[in-house]
């Protein structure tokens, strides 16, 4: 299960897990989980459209994901963020529905865009996935402090010359890049669970920002590896393992937090 095509699967899925763990951490921190849901799921319309007109699926994903991120970032002020995100998502899903209905012969491909095609990663796809993954990781590393500052203290950040709005837009674009890389591998629906579950679990376990980020990545990797292994064993859908894995880790994290809370206020 570690050779040839399988090796590609493991590499691609690991890159996806690292990026999902990182972007998910900030999506949860910034309260942008709704956008984290909307961008990958809406971007699936781009992939469906691309396959309809015979363009590379990743290009279609990227174009629509970036357009969605720009829409959410540019139109959504703090107060209207959810409404704009919802409208963007609905618009993208509507387009997706049209594209899918026009191309019935691609039903299988559409299914894999939603639920992933983790076993079908070819040698040629590994390099672009790794490249986009590295770009997303670098983008987050470069903006680490402003991302923290604007998430926690938006007004203070403004006073120090860091535009919360610009950082918001930047982060949405990073999510769009991450999405165009991850959706073909794990699918739009799983991308979302892989972003939110590990990040939410990590932050309930530790109060240290750096440790929480590392833990979020580690949990995403653990869920991904476990899910692929179980998938080979049982041939049950991968999504089942990723989804329940995320929820399970979160519940364990919550339990750990419950036990730790009385100490966390006094311990140093």
């Amino acid at each position: 299960m570690f050779t040839g095509l399988m090796a590609n699967t493991w590499i691609a899925a690991s890159v996806v897990a690292v990026i999902a763990g990182m972007t998910g951490y900030f999506a949860v921190l910034r309260g942008q989980t709704f956008a984290a849901h909307a961008i990958p799921n809406g971007a699936f319309a781009g992939a469906a459209g691309a396959s309809l007109i015979g363009v590379n699926v990743i290009v279609g994903l990227a174009v629509v994901a970036v357009a969605g991120a720009l829409g959410i970032g540019a139109l959504g002020s703090k107060a209207r963020h959810d409404v704009i995100t919802a409208l963007t998502l609905v618009l993208m899903l509507g387009l997706g529905a049209v594209f899918v209905s026009m191309s019935t012969q691609y039903a299988q491909e559409t299914y894999s865009l939603l639920f992933g095609q983790v076993t079908g990663v070819s040698q040629g796809e590994v390099a672009p996935i790794a490249g986009l993954g590295l770009a997303a990781a670098l983008a987050i590393g470069v903006a680490f402090r402003p991302l923290m500052l604007t998430s926690a203290l938006p007004e203070v950040a403004e006073a120090r010359g860091v535009s919360t709005r610009k950082v918001d837009l930047y982060f949405l674009l990073v999510m769009a890049v991450a999405t165009s890389m991850t959706v073909p591998v794990v699918g739009a629906l799983l991308m979302f669970s892989l972003m939110i579950g590990p990040a939410a679990a990590a932050r309930s376990v530790t109060a240290r920002p750096g440790v929480a980020l590392a833990l979020s990545v580690a949990i995403a990797l653990a869920i991904t590896w476990l899910s692929i292994a179980l998938f080979y064993r049982t041939n049950w859908p991968l999504g089942f393992f990723v989804g329940t894995g995320g929820a399970l880790f979160y519940l364990v994290g919550l339990g750990a937090r419950r036990l730790a809370v009385p100490r966390s206020l006094t311990r140093s």
Binding site: L29, G141, V142, A143, F144, R145, P146, M148, L149, S151, A152, L153, E155, V156, A157, E158, A159, R160, G161, V162, A202, R203, S204, T206, A207, R208, P209, G210, V211, A212, S264, L265, R267, S268
Partner: protein, 244 residues
């Protein structure tokens, strides 16, 4: 000594309305100023225009290069993985790109800033789980670690009980004196500040009156500012402003 901050005929318009008009005053290093006024008078607006967060429609502002700012309220979830010391550490260089590596020097600076405001005991607690008063202190430490010459605080005494209120005022007055930091603090009630204020900046009706508290807070002075008669009463050492 030369002035640190100078507002010369500053006016602010928001949403087509004149919020502040012809504001002029100066602040020197180490001075403690109280920005006092009723709800909606324009206290936050005045602080925001000093910070450059909103543009002024008229006049000129001369400001120091670094200004520390503690906003009116913090909205941090209890789950957010940020300890008090992480928030203070962000005050050091959170606006720069990249990430900061832990070091002995950074740790000492952060511990010192927390100790200065009496927040050392909860350095490792999640900020979101701290009480309002504890969060205020952490935010003061966050603002002070960047060594500003001017520190602006928006209603730091709101929602605090009397004992904590006096403690925070004392901490701030001490910082102003010992570190030559000019402190400007907004509040509804001037009474907790009366003993430490070098200057009152009284905001009402879009206008501002400044000077020593006893000169500004008079029945005649405030009546003129409000545009209608108000009485300034002295009751058991407290000053009360009532509509006449």
């Amino acid at each position: 000594m030369t002035e640190l901050l100078k507002l010369d005929g500053v006016g602010v318009r928001l949403g087509g309305r004149q919020i502040l008009d012809d504001v002029r005053f100066e602040v020197r290093p180490g001075e403690f100023s109280g920005i006092i006024g009723p709800n909606g008078a324009g206290k936050t607006t005045l602080l925001r225009v000093i910070l450059g967060l909103i543009p002024s429609a008229a006049g000129k502002i001369t400001r120091p290069p670094t200004i520390g700012y503690v906003p009116q309220k913090l909205n941090i979830d209890p789950d957010v993985p940020l300890r008090a010391r992480d928030v203070v550490s962000l005050g050091l260089d959170g606006h720069r790109i990249g990430f900061s590596f832990p070091s002995r020097k950074r740790r000492d600076l952060v511990e010192k800033a927390l100790a200065d405001v009496g927040a050392g005991d909860y350095a490792s607690a999640r900020v979101g789980e701290l009480s309002g008063g504890q969060q205020q202190r952490v935010m003061v430490a966050h603002a002070l670690i960047s060594r500003p010459s001017l520190l602006l605080l928006d209603e730091p005494l709101a929602n605090l009980d009397l004992a904590i209120e006096q403690e925070i005022v004392t901490v701030l007055a001490k910082l102003a004196r010992e570190h030559e930091i000019a402190v400007m603090l907004s509040a509804h009630d001037m009474n907790p500040l009366i003993n430490v204020m070098d200057r009152i900046i009284y905001v009402a009706n879009g206008k501002v009156a400044t000077g020593a508290t006893d000169d500004v807070v008079t029945t005649e002075g405030l009546s003129e500012l409000y545009g209608h008669h108000v009485d300034v009463l002295h009751v058991h050492g407290r000053v009360v402003v009532v509509a006449g």
